[in-house]
């Protein structure tokens, strides 16, 4: 590109963009700062310099057993993602490589299940979970999260698999490779990046899911979404503790998210914007 960019133009754009970005990021930044304050400091008015105390962090763990919720979040988000992949990889595979007349309809139908509002089935699911003893169990919630994200996983995998050139398949067949050989030695290595991206995005979505994880758990299976929601009724001075708990809850996923911007666009627009 031969477009001449003046330094002045670049300076103005940089300044404007940084101001906008810092304003948008401010609530997160301020939460992180407040988490290093004491409760007294936290309510003493606006200040960007904390005393650096870690007491809120130790209190969050000591008072409410933060780690248990964190562990549940990890188990639920990773578990549901792995389960969804096990089911979705073969489906996306066959749709990408042996499409039939109905493949497109099936894909669209899968997408349509994602559009069903969760509240519409809240009570039946609640009943089914209660009667099968799945309420507040990690297994029940893992299955739930797997089901709500399955359409996105199939779709994302499908858009990745479709980009694997079919000629390679033909060549392998010519060489007399069996179907399973073909899948394991030829296609899998090419599919790994797509599967990894899908996995990353799905873990993020499952980690942040805040309807079923709150409504179907009480204590045993409660992940961080449910734990943080328990802060909705103020308990005395709790600003610093809320900040510490929030920082811990978002940090891992924030970092994962930064690495998955491209996949996010692709996954959430079902391949319509790349």
């Amino acid at each position: 590109m031969a477009r001449a960019v003046t330094t002045r133009h670049k300076t103005i754009a940089t300044a404007a963009a940084w101001i906008a970005a810092l304003l948008i990021f401010f609530p997160i930044l301020y939460t992180i700062i407040t988490s290093f304050k004491s409760e007294q400091e936290a309510i003493q008015g606006f200040s960007l310099i904390p005393s650096g105390t870690l007491e809120s962090y130790s209190e969050v763990q000591a008072q409410s057993g933060y780690f248990k919720f964190f562990l549940n979040s990890v188990i639920l988000s990773v578990g549901s993602t792995v389960l969804a992949l096990v089911v979705a990889v073969p489906a996306a595979w066959s749709m990408a490589f042996s499409p039939t007349r109905r493949t497109k309809d099936i894909l669209m139908w899968m997408l349509s299940t994602k559009m069903m509002p969760a509240v519409a089935v809240l009570f039946p699911i609640y009943l089914i979970f209660r009667d099968t003893g799945l309420l507040d169990s990690r297994i029940g919630l893992t299955i739930m999260l797997m089901l709500i994200n399955l359409p996105i996983v199939v779709w994302m995998l499908y858009t990745y698999f479709r980009e694997i050139p079919g000629e390679i398949l033909e060549a392998a067949r010519m060489d007399g490779a069996s179907l399973w050989n073909e899948i394991i030695h030829v296609l899998t290595p090419m599919a790994v990046p797509g599967i990894a991206s899908t996995m990353l995005l799905n873990i993020i979505l499952a980690w942040n899911e805040a309807f079923w994880t709150i409504r179907l758990t009480t204590t045993d299976a409660a992940p961080l979404t449910a734990f943080i929601s328990s802060f909705s009724s103020p308990q005395g001075l709790f600003w610093a503790k809320l900040s510490a708990a929030s920082t811990l809850a978002i940090a891992p996923i924030l970092i994962m998210g930064w690495f998955s911007q491209k996949q996010l666009v692709r996954g959430l627009t079902f391949g319509a914007v790349k």
Binding site: R3, W18, L122, I250, L254, G257
Partner: protein, 290 residues
């Protein structure tokens, strides 16, 4: 060259996904539909039984139902307006050459990865709290009375929080679309003496139109079911001022145990979502043909 064998294998590979999603979609929804024609209260089972359409009739007679539908639509439309306009402006800004672009992008996209309860509680307590929040600090600095956001403007407060969560999404998608715009086309337009506004109107905006459609459709699906943000901030109040349809259904089902009414609300939510889905599917489906 699909042989009979590969075709049946393909069907076998697809079966688990299809069966799971089919059961997941049909079974609970059938229950909900059935309950929506029943009077059913686990706490007071004496009057249980078939009641026809009377649960649905409540949507005309009970102001809470009407208000919840209205609130649902206000949240969707307001958040869409803020995020699409804001997202276009931010995308245009971030597309300019600048120092530290990668880092700016990371800062802008971050709110999207914040789980809803955290986003809502941080805004409620750290930013909008009438006594200790940053907005109150700013108001006092200028000698003004701090605003009691959640007490006096509950729906606006929720819209602000939800818009903050979705602005990054809109920005990211629109920026991706913007960056695929052909540089040569831009140059040609510039050489022809097209100003910034006419370039934006005749070149950039048409190029982004599909991305804008996608942003609107996908956000609408999620915005129709805003839940956690309301739960941890206003709890739907004061009164029903910030109750949307999903929240009302939750209240009726799990707090008041009026299962019939809750189910009717759920079915209305499905109908609303289907109207949106109809347009969404057409837009995404078009892309598949390409």
């Amino acid at each position: 060259m699909a042989t009979q064998q590969t075709r049946s294998l393909a069907r076998f590979m697809m079966a688990p996904s299809v069966i799971l999603l089919f059961v997941w979609m049909i079974v609970p929804l059938a229950f909900t539909l059935w309950f929506s024609f029943q009077q059913y209260n686990p706490l007071n089972p004496i009057r249980d039984g078939f009641v026809g359409f009377s649960n649905y009739a409540l949507f005309y007679s009970n102001p809470a139902f009407l208000q919840s539908i209205l609130n649902t639509l206000i949240i969707v439309v307001a958040v869409l307006a803020i995020t699409v306009v804001g997202g276009i402006l931010l995308a245009l800004l971030l597309d300019q050459p600048m120092w530290g672009q990668g880092f700016v992008r990371i800062l802008v996209i971050s709110p999207f990865f914040v789980m809803p309860p955290v986003a809502a509680l941080v805004w409620k307590n750290m930013i909008m709290h009438p006594q200790y929040g940053v907005f109150a600090d700013i108001a006092r600095f200028f000698g003004m009375e701090p605003i009691d956001w959640f007490g006096q403007h509950p729906l606006t407060s929720i819209i602000i929080i939800v818009a903050w969560q979705w602005l990054p999404f809109a920005t990211l998608i629109l920026l991706t679309a913007l960056q695929s715009l052909d540089g040569e086309q831009k140059e040609a337009a510039e050489m022809d003496g097209a100003g910034f506004l006419s370039r934006f109107w005749y070149l950039t905006l048409p190029h982004m139109s599909r991305a804008i459609t996608v942003v609107i459709l996908i956000q609408t699906i999620f915005l129709l079911s805003v839940y956690a943000e309301i739960l941890v901030t206003t709890n739907g109040g004061p009164g029903y001022a910030s109750t949307n349809l999903p929240f009302l259904v939750y209240q009726k089902a799990l707090l008041e145990f009026k299962i019939g009414q809750a189910s009717a609300g759920g079915i209305i939510a499905v109908i609303l979502a289907n109207i949106v889905a109809f347009f969404a599917m057409r837009a995404v489906g078009k892309n598949l043909d390409k």
